[in-house]
């Protein structure tokens, strides 16, 4: 379950988003996505209008997990990056704080080398933010959701699945 509260991490979140947008501009990427390892989207930068985001997020997480199994098989701990090269568009995927997947979609106008260098740089920064968020997160949302909230959500569920 991912729950987003709003206030507490707004500052970190804003900085994360800024960094992603800067990365996107710097390397002229089409889009940059942050995804958690369970396949849920955290945030995006750039233009994602061409993309089926939930599917992309799910598959990226699955891709990473499948690749960690591959790593296992050859006695590696984890591959920290993945690269899928296409004719027009390519995807570069890397892992931040062991928890969060950063996916960059770019065209042939950008070189892989540049992507690699810039992603490494921004990952370092993001790691700082995420480590702080993960450290603070425990118990963060307790009390925010009460019986009334659950009741309302349940009746939404009832009307959706009937």
């Amino acid at each position: 379950m991912t729950v987003s509260k709003g206030n507490h991490f707004e500052e970190e979140f804003r900085k994360i988003k800024e960094n992603l947008e800067e990365l996107c501009r710097d390397i002229k990427a089409l889009a940059v996505l942050l995804i958690d390892k369970a396949g849920q989207l955290i945030t995006t930068a750039g233009n994602t209008s061409f993309l089926d985001i939930p599917s992309f997020a799910t598959l990226s997480a699955a891709d990473f997990a499948a690749t960690s199994n591959l790593a296992d098989l050859i006695g590696e701990y984890d591959f920290t990056t993945l690269f899928h090269q296409g004719k027009e568009k390519s995807i570069y995927v890397s892992l931040i704080s062991d928890q969060v997947i950063l996916a960059v979609i770019f065209t042939k106008e950008t070189t892989l080398g540049l992507v690699r260098i810039k992603v490494r740089k921004v990952s370092k920064k993001l790691e700082g933010f995420f480590d702080k968020i993960f450290a603070d997160i425990e118990g963060e949302y307790v009390g925010m959701i009460d019986d009334d909230f659950i009741g309302e959500a349940e009746s939404e569920l009832d009307s959706l699945f009937e």
């Binding site: 379950m1 991912t2 729950v3 987003s4 509260k5 709003g6 507490h8 991490f9 707004e10 979140f13 804003r14 988003k17 958690d36 390892k37 369970a38 396949g39 849920q40 955290i42 945030t43 089926d52 939930p54 599917s55 799910t58 997480a61 699955a62 997990a65 499948a66 199994n69 969060v100 968020i133 997160i137 963060e140 949302y141 307790v142 959701i145 009460d146 019986d147 909230f149 659950i150 309302e152 959500a153 349940e154 939404e156 569920l157 009832d158 959706l160 699945f161 009937e162």
Partner: protein, 192 residues
């Protein structure tokens, strides 16, 4: 539990259909897809092998709309049943908020149900999670067929904790929404 706070107010809930291969998991999710208002659902994505047995998974995002400013998303997954796809089963289980175990009621599949349940426990254990820790419901599927195990016996063997179950005929949409609704509510209640 994969917990991340974003600045947008969102709650994402991951529900996984587990069970032996060909038990009816994909049929469940396809029925849900066919019945949910198109505005509330995303694309149904299936990664199939040529043999039409799910290789990786089916995936269906469902949007519950806004509750007091929070957007609620339910993400439904199925796992592949075949023994040799355990790696992908394990990865789909990551961060699961609720499980629906789809058992195949046919007598000849009885052992497969037990094996799949054991496999579920093992895979959860690798994440340090016990089956009892996660909201769970059962569906005893294929009740339309003649050669089936009695509910009493299925309950006895597969459901010692006596969690909610439905008698399913997933191809006709019978007993599909009940376990989904029940497990979703359980998952929501755990937010408190």
């Amino acid at each position: 539990m994969s917990l991340i706070n974003y600045s947008s107010k969102e709650i994402n809930c991951k529900i996984v259909y587990y069970g032996p291969g060909l038990g009816g998991k994909t049929t469940n999710i396809k029925y849900v897809y066919s019945k949910v208002n198109p505005e509330s659902r995303g694309k149904l994505m299936s990664l199939d092998t040529e043999l039409d047995r799910t290789l990786f998974f089916d995936f269906l995002p469902v949007n519950l709309g806004k509750v007091r400013g929070f957007t609620l998303h339910f993400h439904l997954y199925t796992v592949p049943g075949q023994v040799y796809y355990n790696a992908s089963r394990k990865l789909i289980l990551k961060g699961t908020d609720g499980l629906i175990f789809v058992a195949d009621s046919q007598i000849e599949r009885f052992e497969d149900n037990i094996e799949s349940l054991e496999n579920l426990k093992e895979n959860l254990a690798e994440y340090g999670v016990k089956l009892g820790d996660i909201p769970l419901t059962m569906q005893y599927n294929k009740r339309d067929l003649p050669n089936i195990v009695s509910i009493e016996e299925l309950e006895e063997v597969l459901n010692p904790r006596r969690v909610f179950f439905s008698e399913g005929v997933a191809i006709q949409g019978i007993g599909v929404f009940e376990p989904l609704k029940e497990v979703s509510k359980k998952a929501l209640r755990r937010l408190k």
